[in-house]
């Protein structure tokens, strides 16, 4: 029994890390993969989703609705930022990195001033269950499944809807897409909003499990970055296996040496992957990109 | 007359196709060699193999008698090759003078007389302090050639040097190239403009389907019916 529970504990850890990596990375991957923009304000969209979720839940909204509201709030914030800032920088991608970093700094510090260092949270739903000596949070055990569900929904969105076709056409050849009558500027706005909304959803999903602070985005963004760089620009065929492999590395290192070495392991992996496979894993798994 | 450049059975495959198929090619000093051929014949790939941008799938390249296997592009330049590309590749933020200084630094010859001489020879004296991005197309081409020459090379490659030029500019460029040859440079030119080829070439090589179709003195090659046929698809 103890061997089984030990095994499950590792599986649980893996699932937990995997879900965290995937959910952290998705919004960033969508924006990077579709538009080549490295959105360093990604963490702040996550924070936005988390804050809106907590605040609306505390005002009586049922949790699932609060989460959707959080994702929506982040998406709207994304639209605003895309229209005001990002759209001027599509031909200057280096500068978009710097600009989004500036936005991240401004939003983080403003939130610190306005909302104070932390917000009283809500409890993690569904309680816990135990196996042998270990007890696990039911909610976090279920998150990997939710993450996979979101991935499937994204796959459906990109490959089975009209939006998906238009978006993929625009990525591959924006000028040609315009000649065919596609409103590329609207597509970019929608896509950025999608990425921001996904980030907000991540924040919403994790809000019940952690102390919500204005700087919470920084925790997510490192993981997100690592997963996107290792996975490459391909949102689904890249990010998913990347998250899987990275989760294995992180779980292994954390189990042996502790949390911080797990982090270091991820960062070192990024460096190695950039050195050896600059296009990321996605290239191995997909036909064209 | 020394053998400057030689390729033996040079072959390059991309995917399953032999883009360059067993080319035996030689250039001796003092020549102006024009390489012509229809589109898709492999002229650009041939160039890139010689400069080191591509590695051969088979065969060898010898420059000044030395096997170029594993010699990196910038090392080949140092040995005496110099290239002017088809698409003007100037440095937007630098002036004409600075462009030439770049090459002269490499050639370890920073005297202002060399700089002035280059400016004069390539008719760029007026534009010495102009930023390269503000030059007209023709002047940009001349700047490119001037840069290539500023390195003091032994063998100069020109990839479509008169593309986009007017008739007068083309003729002026031709005279310029002939003066360069008279000054001791060996030059290999890829060009489509037959008037230009007739103006400057001593020998002509014809590439077709990745092979060396014909090779010989200017009059002989241009008089051949089969050369006209591969260009025009019918008998002359």
């Amino acid at each position: 029994m103890t061997a089984l529970s030990l095994l499950y504990s590792l599986v649980y850890q893996f699932g937990d890390n995997f879900a965290y990596l995937v959910l952290a990375a998705l919004g960033l991957a969508v924006i990077f993969g579709m538009m080549g923009v490295i959105n360093l304000a990604h963490g702040e969209f996550i924070m936005c989703g988390a804050y809106v979720t907590i605040i609306s839940a505390r005002h009586g909204l049922p949790l699932p609705l609060a989460m959707l509201l959080g994702a929506l709030a982040a998406a709207i914030a994304g639209i605003i930022i895309e229209r005001l800032v990002i759209r001027h920088l599509y031909d200057r991608l280096f500068d978009s990195v710097v600009a989004t970093w500036a936005i991240s700094l401004i939003v983080q510090q403003t939130m610190l001033l306005v909302a104070g260092p932390s917000l009283e949270g809500i409890g993690t739903p569904f309680g816990s269950f135990s196996l042998g000596d270990y007890s696990f949070s039911t909610y976090r055990a279920v998150l990997p499944a939710i993450a996979l569900g979101i991935l499937l929904a994204l796959y459906w969105l990109f490959f089975r809807t009209n939006y998906g076709v238009c978006a993929r056409a625009t990525i591959q050849n924006a000028r040609m897409a315009q000649c065919l009558g596609l409103r590329t500027d609207r597509l970019y706005t929608l896509t950025f909003a999608l990425g921001a909304g996904l980030a907000g959803l991540t924040g919403a999903l994790y809000a019940p499990t952690m102390t919500v602070v204005p700087t919470m985005g920084s925790n997510f963004i490192v993981q997100a970055f690592v997963a996107v760089v290792v996975g490459g620009a391909n949102v689904i065929a890249g990010t998913t296996p990347a998250a899987g492999i990275l989760a294995i590395i992180q779980t292994g290192l954390t189990a042996s040496y502790g949390q911080l070495f797990g982090q270091i392991g991820l960062l070192v992996t990024v460096i190695i992957v950039i050195r050896l496979m600059p296009q990321g894993l996605g290239n191995l798994f997909s036909r064209s990109r | 007359m020394t053998r400057l450049l030689e390729t033996r059975a040079l072959t390059k495959r991309f995917g399953g196709a032999n883009v360059i198929n067993g080319i035996d090619f030689q250039i001796d000093t003092g020549e102006i060699r024009c390489v012509i051929g229809p589109n898709g014949a492999g002229k650009s790939t041939f160039f890139k193999l010689i400069t080191g941008e591509h590695t051969p799938s088979d065969g060898s390249i010898h420059f000044l008698g030395r096997d170029m296997n594993r010699v990196l592009p910038h090392e080949r330049i140092r040995m005496g090759m110099s290239i002017k590309f088809q698409i003007p590749g100037v440095f937007a933020d630098l002036t004409v003078r600075q462009h030439l200084q770049l090459g002269l630094y490499r050639a370890k010859d920073v005297s202002s007389t060399s700089l002035d001489e280059l400016l004069h020879r390539f008719m760029l004296e007026q534009e010495a302090s102009v930023l390269a991005c503000n030059l007209s197309h023709g002047k940009k081409q001349w700047l490119e050639i001037a840069m290539a020459v500023s390195l003091g090379p032994k063998l100069l490659f020109l990839d479509e040097p008169v593309a986009g030029m007017s008739v007068e500019e083309t003729h002026a460029t031709g005279e310029l190239i002939k003066r360069l040859r008279d000054a001791g440079l060996t030059i290999m030119v890829v060009e489509h403009d037959m008037t230009f080829v007739k103006q400057i070439a001593s020998r002509v090589s014809v590439l077709h389907g990745g092979r060396l179709f014909a090779d010989g003195p200017l009059d002989e090659i241009l008089g051949r019916d089969d050369v006209a046929e591969i260009y025009l698809g019918r008998k002359k």
């Binding site: 510090q109 | 140092r78 590749g89 930023l131 503000n134």
Partner: protein, 363 residues
Amino acid sequence: MKQLELVSRGARRKRATSLSLKFLPWLVALGLPLIVDSNASGNFAYCLVWAFGAIGLAAMWGYGGILSFGQTAFFGLSGYAYGIIALNFGDSWITSWGSLLAALVVSVAAATLIGYMIFYGRIKGVFIGIVTLSITLVLETFMSQTAGPQWAIGAAKLNGYNGMGGMPQLTIPWHGGPLTLENTSFYYFVLALLALVYWVTRKLLDGPFGLTLIAIRENPQRAEMLGVDIRRHQLLIFVFGSTLGGLSGVLYTIWGSYITPSTMGLTSAALPVIWVATAGRKSIGGAIIGTALLVWLSQNLAVYGSQYALILLGSILLIVVLLAPEGLLPYVITHLRRLATRPQSNAVPEPQTALKAGRGSKS
């Protein structure tokens, strides 16, 4: 004839203005301690300390096109190196200077290794930024967990998040006992060092090396076809720029007798980029002035709360990126120049036409 006279007078006026602009900041800096007390001098020294890393970043980014987020990594590396060596080998005046040199050597070695991996591994563009940022974060994460007592090198305890302190400052031999360089004397030392570094950097970047860097930045393939060994040039400027980051770190550690991992965190890594982007990355002198001013501004704002300083910096950066991507100083200078030439607009031709007619002088 009259037109030519007006043109040359305008050109002479321009040259006089730019010459005086060049020397003015140095004169002001020299005279500053005479009008403020020694504590304030010490604070000004603090502002100047960051300028070295900014020079390094401007050289790498503005000339070489290499955006490295690793300045703070070398900052921390050399800072800790100085602390460790100085804490272990006593505080005679010789060893304090020896520690400074050794700490710089550490940066040179690390930069050579990292630079080799990056440039000879053909890593380009944004990925250079990502790799350097990752290295910075690895260092920060690693140093943060060195809190336990087993984490000590000789007599120097690393202390994790809390940071390492108490290392000796720089001293010089003086009759009557070694003189510690602090406040005013430290300020003059830093100023002198800054002048030296500025002169060396100018010599380096105004010559063939700088020209080649610009060519590599603008069109790497073309540069390679001019016989330029791109990777060697990039490695050299990377080592140069990063070591300057390390110099900032050493001087910071000496100034406060203190170094902590937070100097290598995400927010800290952004600061050099913010300063240099705002000041204008293609100007070394601009980078110095811009950095010193922005640090001074942040210091004063931090009294109200560090959030205000960071919000201001972030907003400045955003405005600069959107409106003046070449940097604020070049933007201001360009507009001042336009204003200066306008009163004679019927005599001096517009810059565009002047260039086309071959009479302009911009090099």
